[in-house]
């Protein structure tokens, strides 16, 4: 699979098969937990618990977090109650909540009953938030300070609690749980006088997000400002957690994958890797759109049937149908995909619709004229002269090229408009990408084709 484990893979397998456990342990300790997790994917299921037990306690938990849900479930089922508690206790609250969301009910019950009540409450607090909300990706392990602390007090507190906190590099100043300021550890170190008050150096002009905010928007915000973490507050403005850059990076990448999947006419895989997806998983992801689009193609069929008698007299027109439909589909998906991405990255809003349409119209005139001219030359040189098809007359070429130009214009205008309307109506704009636009543009381009040919050829 990925670059690191390739060479190690064989070595780990050999050590495992030859039962050289102490060497195996020594090797695993030198590796990064993310790589160890990757290595586990290549091992036979029955050997996984054995290899996992070789890991030292803290490394075991870090490796466990990075594993695929399937493997996590397999391990949990094999754990004794004691082992389970050891691993789960080492997890951060947000990771434990993620784990619980992925596991079947009986496993969830065992996990929750294995942890102490305080930690269970923290996990449940995170689980309360809707999926895709800032609350669901935040961690509750951050360091708070008070305004009346001195820099010395603050550093002492950080040293005391650092071990259990996800980050100590951004510190949150609270007053009865309300966030009043932010100070970075770098700022603390830059203060030369240890008795300076936190209240005097903290930044009160900070950005925070609400637990209910969309996790992808929150992650984009963190990225835009290059923050290490963003504080999360509840509706009463009390600080309840932080979203860290690593979780934000995951959300942004998953968001891009989801956009790409939806744009290609699939339901999102929800983070399951291709490697772990069964053919039936892939089937379920892909069949809905294929079915829908197959049935909606009835319209294009109806249009062709309607012009059946005309087509029978000028079969040469049929030969250009694929080219016209494909060029229309490609033009449309270029525009829709560009607009969908700009919407995802917060570069465009619905209010920009007139600007976007006007830009796409000018672009499609450029593309349309250019394509029509090239197409005319191509038809005359290749289809008529080179292939010697005498049915391809100048009027036929003119009909094809005029249809091409009009189709590009229609496709680009529809392609840019539909995603923006979808966003305005609260749908995912990515749904309005290639397959959908293609079907709409197919029907339209055929109508234009037959309309223009009726006017020019069948008078």
């Amino acid at each position: 699979m990925a670059d690191y484990s390739v060479t190690l893979e064989a070595m780990l397998k050999t050590l495992l098969e030859e039962k050289k456990y102490s060497t195996l342990k020594d090797v695993l300790i030198t590796m990064n937990p993310a790589d160890v997790a990757l290595a586990f994917e290549e091992i036979d299921d029955e050997r996984i618990p054995l290899m996992f037990r070789l890991l030292p306690k803290d490394m075991a938990a870090e490796t466990f977090v990075e594993m695929d849900p399937d493997l996590q479930e397999l391990l949990i089922k094999g754990f004794s109650d004691y082992e389970l508690r050891e691993v789960v206790d080492e997890l951060a609250a947000d990771d434990a909540a993620d784990l619980i969301e992925e596991m079947p009910a009986n496993v969830v019950k065992r996990v929750l009953s294995s942890v102490d009540p305080d930690f269970r409450k923290q996990i449940n607090d995170i689980l309360r938030y809707p999926e895709d909300s800032a609350g669901s990706i935040m961690t509750t392990e951050y360091v708070t300070l008070r305004e009346d602390m001195t820099v010395e007090d603050a550093i002492a507190k950080i040293r005391r609690v650092a071990l259990d906190k996800e980050t100590v590099y951004t510190l949150y100043v609270t007053d009865r749980r309300t966030l009043v300021g932010i100070v970075s550890l770098k700022d603390l170190l830059l203060v030369s006088n240890d008795s300076t008050l936190i209240g005097d150096i903290m930044d009160t002009n900070f950005i925070c997000v609400n637990t209910q905010d969309d996790s992808e928007e929150v992650s984009q915000k963190l990225k835009r400002y290059n923050f290490l973490a963003l504080p999360v507050v509840d509706n009463e403005n009390r600080m309840v957690g932080i979203v860290t850059f690593d979780d934000a990076m995951d959300v942004i990448e998953e968001g891009a994958t989801e956009d790409i999947e939806i744009m290609a006419g699939m339901t999102p895989s929800g983070g399951k890797t291709y490697y772990r997806s069964t053919p039936f998983d892939l089937f379920k992801q892909r069949i809905p759109w294929l079915m829908l689009l197959m049935i909606s193609a009835t319209f294009t069929g109806m249009i062709i049937n309607h012009f059946e008698s005309a087509l029978a007299t000028q079969v040469v027109l049929t030969a250009f149908i694929p080219m016209l439909m494909d060029t229309g589909g490609n033009s449309g998906s270029q525009s829709s995909v560009t607009v969908i991405r700009a919407l995802s990255l917060d570069e465009l809003e619905f209010e920009d619709l007139p600007v976007v349409i006007w830009k796409e119209i000018r672009t499609s005139v450029l593309c349309g004229v250019c394509l029509a001219a090239a197409c005319f030359v191509k038809i005359m040189l290749i289809d008529r002269m080179l292939l010697g098809n005498t049915d391809v007359t100048i009027p036929v070429a003119a009909v094809v090229c005029a249809t091409l130009a009009v189709t590009v214009l229609l496709a680009k205008t529809i392609g840019c408009t539909l995603p923006m309307i979808a966003k305005k109506l609260g749908f995912d704009p990515a749904v309005m990408a290639s397959p959908f636009i293609t079907t709409a543009v197919d029907a339209l381009s055929l109508l234009v084709y037959f309309r223009i040919s009726t006017a020019l050829l069948f008078r």
Copy 2:
């Protein structure tokens, strides 16, 4: 545009128009540089230098970095030599290098001559690295320690140099410029004894990358391990810089955008926002593929021409061409896009090709059988009974459905194979996405269609 500036936009404009500069300055100071940069995009060009001069020195540089290259150029052209030096001196070396890569030659000359020789050398060092290499995105501003330093010495050094360094949270232990270990500021704080030696607490089992490594792979690596920064070494193993998480996030997001653009048949925009792209920019991005695909559609035309006489006797077959081609295209792009994304995320390698093909074959059998059955029912119920098209006989329906199933199988097999071969040959797999696959599958599905109908209908 984006969420933050919407409400502020009007206010800033009013303040600027009414020449309330001191209020405007007070407002701008409360804002985040990324938001100020966004606000500049909405201001008339001639007022931009005026508003920029209101910003305090350090904020001016931070805002400048976040701006669009067009605006940066506009500002530099308006700067006095003194102003230019003030802004550029405040930039980090990697940001200055980025700026220089975007500017036209005459501006580059002015920028480089305005900075002091030391800084110019740093910038040039970064510029030496190929585009898309780790060297080109790294920063040279990191903190180094020595093994024989005590924790106390180390913290003292950090406090002394922190102001000029991009990050102080990961510290690099070097021995005559060779990287020998890594220690985090958190680890330093957790050590209770100030006289502990750095050599005793540093992590010698670290991950580093080479200046020549691909910037996207480096960014993925940083993301995989949840690091704040990754050290970059040259071919002699000397440490020369670090790649930080914020730059890595940008690279990952730009990589996703680039993949999406290429998959939709466009040449990448190179980070230029839709808002700033002119219709001619968009035209240049889009016309090459449209042209190529329009011309390659000659093949589909030739196939149809070849079967012209058969089609003339059974025009009803024509009506199903769009449906067959679209379903084939959609099936193929589903597979290709899934595989391209998995390749981008390092989840698949060329060696996995047999696994992938076998998985896609099973998936396409599921999809193909399901679609063919549904299509048969649809043709009989809608086309024959509801629309009363008596040309649609059971043999015709059988031909269409058999073609559909074969097309899905071919489309998915080609769709998953081409991107992996492209990757193996050193091309960008994204090129092998929808438009390309659609054209290949169109021709194949028509051949299958006519072959099957010749066998079943035209005997």
